[in-house]
Subunit: 239 residues, 2 copies
């Protein structure tokens, strides 16, 4: 499970950061990343972390989501809302099974949003997969640290069940989130420049293309091929 980072995006309450660290450690995880926290470090965080101070001390604090996920190959965002453009959605158990089935060298980030607002649309669109924790329809708002606990619990359970040697075999390294982002931006600028998209009325096309390419878990060679095609045709496209 050393391949999995837990990323808290702009948490407001230091108690939740500590609670998340403790939740992680009880399930054998220790890579915590905190994006632009309101108060951290903080005595409340230390108190709630209890025996998991080492996870808190080792936490990485970064200014934005890009810095948190840039080197990751697979990004999962927790989400409660239904989106206008649906994204691939898994529950916690399915997510854990998928992560356990990944090649060992694949690095995974699981994003947890703000206490009041969750992840915003931009952040959710950077994710390969959306995670919805099963919860009661009448009140589905899990506390942030509780959501971390449930996710880490499922990861721990899936990891325990993992028989040796089930690593997915692939012939290329998976593309990182940064490589994916670069490709998508290249595609977008080319589609605008070539007149396929209208800058003043872009519609949903680009979001749909982004969803497609985040869904598929590209490998590095595929990103190179796609960028080759974009470059080749982009240069000669209609203005």
């Amino acid at each position: 499970m050393s391949q999995v980072k837990i990323v808290l995006v702009e948490p407001s309450h230091p108690g939740n950061i500590g609670g998340a660290a403790r939740a992680m450690k009880t399930m054998g995880l220790n890579r915590l990343v905190i994006v632009n926290p309101k108060r951290f470090p903080d005595p409340q965080a230390d108190w709630r972390a209890a025996g998991a101070l080492d996870v808190l001390d080792g936490a990485e604090v970064v200014p934005d989501v890009s810095a948190a996920i840039g080197d990751c190959h697979w990004v999962i965002g927790t989400s409660t809302r239904l989106r206008r453009i649906p994204w691939p959605v898994v529950d916690a158990k399915q997510m854990a099974a998928q992560i356990v089935a990944m090649p060992r060298q694949a690095s995974v980030a699981i994003l947890f949003g703000r206490e009041d607002n969750g992840l915003n649309n931009d952040e959710l669109q950077r994710c390969n997969l959306h995670l919805q924790i099963p919860a009661a329809a009448e009140y589905s708002s899990l506390n942030l640290a509780m959501a971390v606990q449930v996710v880490c619990y499922e990861l721990f359970q899936a990891g325990q069940a993992k028989p040796d040697g089930l690593d997915a075999v692939w012939d290329r390294r998976p593309a990182t989130a940064a490589q994916l982002q670069g490709m998508v931006e290249h595609l977008e600028s080319t589609l605008l420049q070539g007149g396929f998209l209208n800058r003043n009325n872009p519609g949903q096309t680009m979001r749909r293309l982004r969803r497609l390419f985040t869904r598929v878990q590209l490998d590095e060679t595929e990103v190179q091929i796609l960028r080759g095609i974009i470059r080749h045709f982009g240069h000669s496209g209609p203005k």
Copy 2:
């Protein structure tokens, strides 16, 4: 799930009582019993309960464990320690499956012990079953409210008893194999015509592109967008 009571035995921190109430409500449970709490009611409990104040307000406070479990048909005690006299032990998932399989009129209590000491031997021996939440060997001490969250989460999942796989909701029909094939052939002929691929020495690029688009399970709109791009740039590409 109205047959299940969550019983907190002598909790010290009111925050944990509130956290437990919230955890319960997110998983559709609402019968909370508190045995001899140190501080309750308390503003800390209210704050941590967030949208689950009703669970807190409806909580029953009793002086001892007997009063909490007297009317129950089945009592489960959470335990982390191994006992000198072994007891039937289940994990959270097994426990949930057993409860769901019980007759609807059977009343069940799940006991959670003190933050520092858990349940004592007398209390554990009042239980039909001991529950151990799977956790990391190095640090297995879940916070009290977190333990309640995990247990209620498993109960909720078992109660959902997923009928026929939850069909992912998607906004477009999936593309057929024929639509996919048409798109890939269109792409290939355009890449050949445009000089991106060499007809005499095609290499593996096309096979990789095909693997990519086969892997992702395209929807119909995505196929249309991709064909639109291919057409747009293909017509004007270099010969």
